[in-house]
Every structure is written in C-alpha cells, then in structure tokens.
Symmetry: C2
Subunit: 367 residues, 2 copies
C-alpha cells in the first residue's frame, strides 16, 4: 500500500473517523483506524455502535490496507508541516509516514481482524440540508435520558411520516420536539438513534446548505455526507407515543424575550447547588414573571417583563430544564404555555410549529 | 457598608483576587473574598501563601467590611448584565447584590476572622515594566522543580545585583536563567519566590510597558501594580550558586531556527509514551541534526538543517526539557552549545546575554 495526499485533508479525515474509534476497549484493533486503498483512499473508524468511513483525495501508488493506532496516527499527522504526506506499508506491516524531513515508522496491525461496517441498501431514504438536520439534532439532543433504566429513552426518535421529519427526545421530566416539512417525500420510517451516536454526528455535520442523504434500515441508519458515511445502530423497543402527551389547552400564555428569560433563570440557578432539591419558582402576574429561589446559601429574585394572557400562577421548575431548552432556541421571542402548577409547561415559537419543549414542574413549598 | 460600582470593573477585580483564594481549605473564611470599604473599595484574597489586594473604582455610600464566598460572588457578578451594581451589607451580615432587575441576598461572614496581608516597608525596591517582568517569569517558571524533596527548588530565585535583575529556575536536570540590565539601580537583594505564587502572578501581569514596583523584605515580596498589590511569602534556604555551573567551554556550537528545531523535537517525542525511558537522540553532523527516537511503538527520524561549528557528536535528551525551553524563546534563531555526551547543553540567544537554558543529557544506548 502506498499513497501520497495532503496533510490537511488527511488530518481532517482522521479527526472525522476518530469520532467512531473506541478509547476504552479490550480489543486493541478497535483503537485503530482502518486505512484501505483500492480505487480510493478510505479511512474507517468503528466502535461497533457507530461506524464512520471517510474518503480522502490521494495519489494512489499501490493498493492495500492496514490498521494503525488512531491516537498516535492522528497526533503525528496533526504535527506534520503543511505539505504532502507519503504513507506506505512495508511487508512486516510497519507503516512509513514521510513528510518533508520527517520520517516515521510505526507498527501496524493486519486489516483482516477489523470489523466491517454493515452495508445499507434501503429505499427508505430522504435528502435534507446539512444545516437543517444539524440544527434539529442539536435542538433536541440535550433532552435524551442519561439513565440506563429505560434504554429506549437514551436515544432520539427520528420519524419520517406524512411529509414531515420529526426528531423527539424525552427523559421523563421533559420532552424536546423539532419538526420540518418534507415536501414530495413519500418515504416513511421511525427509528430510535442512540444519543451518543447523535452527539458525534452533530459534530461532523456542518452548518451548510449542501444536502445529505439519510437511509434507514431495520437495524441501522446511514448519514451519507458525500465524502463521509456515518452508520449507527438503532435502539430496539417501542418509543412513547409523544403526540398524545402534548397538552392541547393551557391556563396562561407568557410571551417573553428568549435571552432575557434565559439570563434571569441562569442567574436564579446560581445559588442552587442541588437543583433537584432547590427548584426555581416562577411567579406569573399581570406584566412580569418573578423568578426566585431560596437555598442554604441565600436568596435571589429576578424580574422579567413579559406579556401575560390568562391567570396569575405560581409554579416551580428545575432551572436546568428551562436553561437547556432556551439556549438552543434562536428565535428572539418565545411563548410559554402554563397549565397548572402540577401540569406541564410548553415552550413554542411565536407562530411556526417547528419546535416544542415540554417541561414538568417541581413541587414547591408555599410561603 | 454600601457601594455602587461598574459590573465590569468589579468582575475584573474579583478575577484577580480569586487567584489568591484557597479552593481546598479547612478554614471556610479563606474560601471568601474580603470586601473592605473605607476611603476606597478594596477586594482581598489570601491563602496565607499569596495575598492579593485590588482596588475597584466605586461610589462609596457607607464604609464597612464583609467576607463573601469567592466562587459564588464571582459567578453571580459575571452573570449580571453590564450595568451598575449595588452591594450593601445588612445588620445580620447578609450581603445584598442588586443590578437592574436582579436582586441577590447572600450570607456573608464577619471580616474580623479574615487574616490580614503583611505590610511591607522596604527600601529594597525597584521599578520595571510589567511586560518585562512578565516575560522573565514566564521564560523561567517552567523549569522549577515539582518535587518537594528539595523545597527551595520549587521556587524561582529573583536576584537584584550589580545593576542586573536575574530570575533563575532549576530542577536538577535543567536550569533556566533570564536577565535584564537595571541601570542606575543600586538596590540589592536575593529571594526565592514559590513557583505556585509566580504562576498566579504571571497571569495577572499584562504585556504593557507601564512600570510596576517590586519590594523585597526578609519574608515577603510585594508586586505593586497600581490598583493591585500582590504579596507572596518567600522560600527559606540557600539557593544553588547557579553561576558556577554554567559551562564556560563547549565542543560544538549549533545554530538553528528556533521553530524548526522545536517542531522536529515535538514530533520526535510523539512516539515516546514514557519520556524518562525513551530519550530522543541528537546526531550532530556537518550540516544537520538528525533527531531520532526508537520506542515500543515505532521509530522516528527528523532532519533539521543547522549551522555546525565543532565536532560531530551524538547525545540523548529528555525531549520535554528542550521543548519547554524552545517554546518560550521568541528569538528566530538560537545557539546550542554542546559539551560532551554526558555534559550539559546550553541554549542561548545569538548575541545578547538575556537568557540561558542548560539541559543535562540522558544516557543513550549506542547502536
């Protein structure tokens, strides 16, 4: 195997496939990157949950393949001067890396033991802009459950149905829903993708308009981004019928400036060392919300001017749930729909239907 | 106590004095910042080794003093809007913080228990630009010893003598010396300042030409930076007579581009997981240095074109010692003076006498 490629393009490719390389594993080969040279020069990372292939432009001199330790390979390439890099495998599986006056020879591993990424052939497919799917994942991912007792909720539901693409995350106390219209797209599917995989995928996606293609099969989902293919296994099990739990009615609608609301809740949560024990209290009156908290450290009171429609109300929340939702909302203003002091609050954009965050309140002591 | 000041200036002041606040202590008052309002508004942090006072411009309404938890105070002020902040202490020692629509009330601690920073009256004093003393500390600090078995070497020697200011750090395997001429300055002293304190001081000093004044007393050193005074205790004991160990002669002089030399050693050290066990080898010939390393992971060979005066030579080094020295050198080229393969190498600027780094070699296996 022998190729010559640009240091920068190789370094980019490595940093992408590294997102699927195991750091803790009992199988040393999974700590490696598969380098495969046939008609193209391809890098692969695979931790058996997430697999990433990346094609790097190269001058191909001799086909072949090898597995090389991912961390070491990445660090060496990153530190090379911005120039052409030669990679060559010798008969003893040693890998030569040469660039200007630098010469490395590293022990490689034969590629035979490297697990292949499943091929996905599926007609359940659709195209979407990188930026849009990136935003959709980012705006829901924080609400996946981190607890393993209900494994299905450690992933996000990705649903393609009735010309809509929907991503849903839920952790038992809150739910994040993000939608987009898919016109002239008849493919239908519904899969649950592990949060860990989405967390890596969202780092690879760029905020650009170029389209990517998503393929769904019974056990895997594939994100095809041109030079790079990402395959994740799916979570098995029934997801919650999320539509049924969104409240249709409300008692009080509060329209607020997103950033003002966020800053005030962030400040009110500063004196809360234990957020489960010390919720923040929302006191909604005619023209404002008083956000307050009392803990062993002291007390805080924040006043936010808002537009209120409906009854005055006092209700307590885990501040983190509000903070995480408000942080990913780009709209200048939001509507918050409160039901009762034990019923969910829903945050929505002013008009469009693109997102909804539902947060369950926390019981507070009346003062 | 009652004052009004700008959020930004208060936040800057807090972040400076926080560098002297204990994070691990059995005395809760040392986790606090002393707020003292007399004719001026003063913040103090003090961990009994390092003490920092900072004056913040304020509209003083009522004198008084209080101690407030440093972390909490800092986080709250940082998150406030850019506006005027009111701080007021109530009779029960509660501290009120108000800014626009935010209102905090935190438990304070009476200031009586707070340890005072020693007053330093000394005629051993000199003035120097902030930038220069900052560079001098930064360019020597990395070579202080981290081992507690010879406590005196966990600090840097600051010596004022014969119209020269010199800072020296040494850890048994290497030494860093940085000098500057002090014309018309007759004060003489020689003190050893703990590396931990210098590490905080160097973060506070700015790369500006404004002068600061340094005062030395038998037990403390004071850096007076206008609005901010930093006092550190000194280390007791005899420092090494560093002058006697700088080699006067050499076998081979190598003149190299600093960055090229640094990058090559950095790359050569990448395959060295255990730097004590696997040194890098310098092979000096007529026109170049071959830097190489062989470890269980593989082999690397770097070639750097240099100007050589003297004998060819092969000598091994801990790469980190070279890397840390070359990283703080701003000169485009340096001279490296090699003695023997068991004698020290000295790195110097081409002409001036402002710095010298001495590094002891490591024994290498001959191949």
């Amino acid at each position: 195997m022998k190729i010559i490629c640009s240091k920068e393009e190789l370094s980019n490719g490595i940093s992408i496939v590294q997102k699927a390389v195991s750091t803790k594993t009992t199988m040393p080969i999974l700590e490696g990157i598969l380098i495969d040279v046939g008609e193209q020069f391809k890098l692969t990372g695979n931790d058996l949950e997430l697999g990433i292939e990346c094609f790097v432009k190269a001058d191909i001199r001799e086909p072949g393949s090898i597995v090389i330790n991912s961390r070491m390979f990445g660090e060496i390439i990153k530190k090379l001067p911005d120039s052409e890099v030669l990679i060559e495998v010798k008969e003893n599986n040693n890998v030569i890396i040469e660039c200007n006056n630098s010469h490395f020879e590293l022990k490689g591993m034969p590629s035979e033991g490297y697990p292949s990424i499943p091929e996905i052939e599926s007609d359940k497919t659709f195209a979407i802009s990188q930026k849009e799917v990136r935003d959709m994942i980012r705006q829901t991912l924080f609400a996946v459950s981190l607890e393993e007792n209900r494994p299905i909720f450690t992933g996000s539901l990705i649903e393609c149905k009735n010309n809509e693409l929907t991503i849903v995350s839920i952790d038992g106390f809150r739910m994040a829903i993000r939608k987009t219209i898919r016109e002239n797209d008849t493919s239908e599917f519904s899969v649950v993708v592990p949060g860990k995989a989405l967390n890596e995928i969202v780092k690879i996606l760029q905020p650009v308009d170029e389209e990517i293609t998503i393929y769904s099969s019974p056990n895997q989902i594939l994100f095809d981004i041109g030079n790079c293919k990402i395959v994740s296994r799916l979570l098995e099990g029934e997801y919650l019928n999320y539509r049924s739990i969104i409240p249709k009615e409300y008692e009080t609608r509060v329209r607020a400036n997103t950033k003002e609301m966020l800053s005030s809740i962030e400040r009110a949560s500063l004196i809360t060392l234990d957020e489960k024990k010390f919720p923040v209290k929302f006191n909604i009156s005619d023209e404002n919300i008083i956000i307050s908290s009392n803990t062993e450290i002291g007390a805080v009171r924040e006043e936010v001017r808002v537009e209120v429609n409906g009854e005055n109300m006092t209700v307590g929340f885990n501040p983190r749930y509000f903070i995480e939702a408000l942080r990913v909302i780009e709209d200048e203003e939001v509507d918050m729909f409160f039901t009762t002091n034990i019923g969910p609050c829903t945050i929505r954009p002013l008009e469009a239907d693109k997102f909804a965050y539902m947060i369950l309140p926390v019981k507070i002591n009346n003062e």
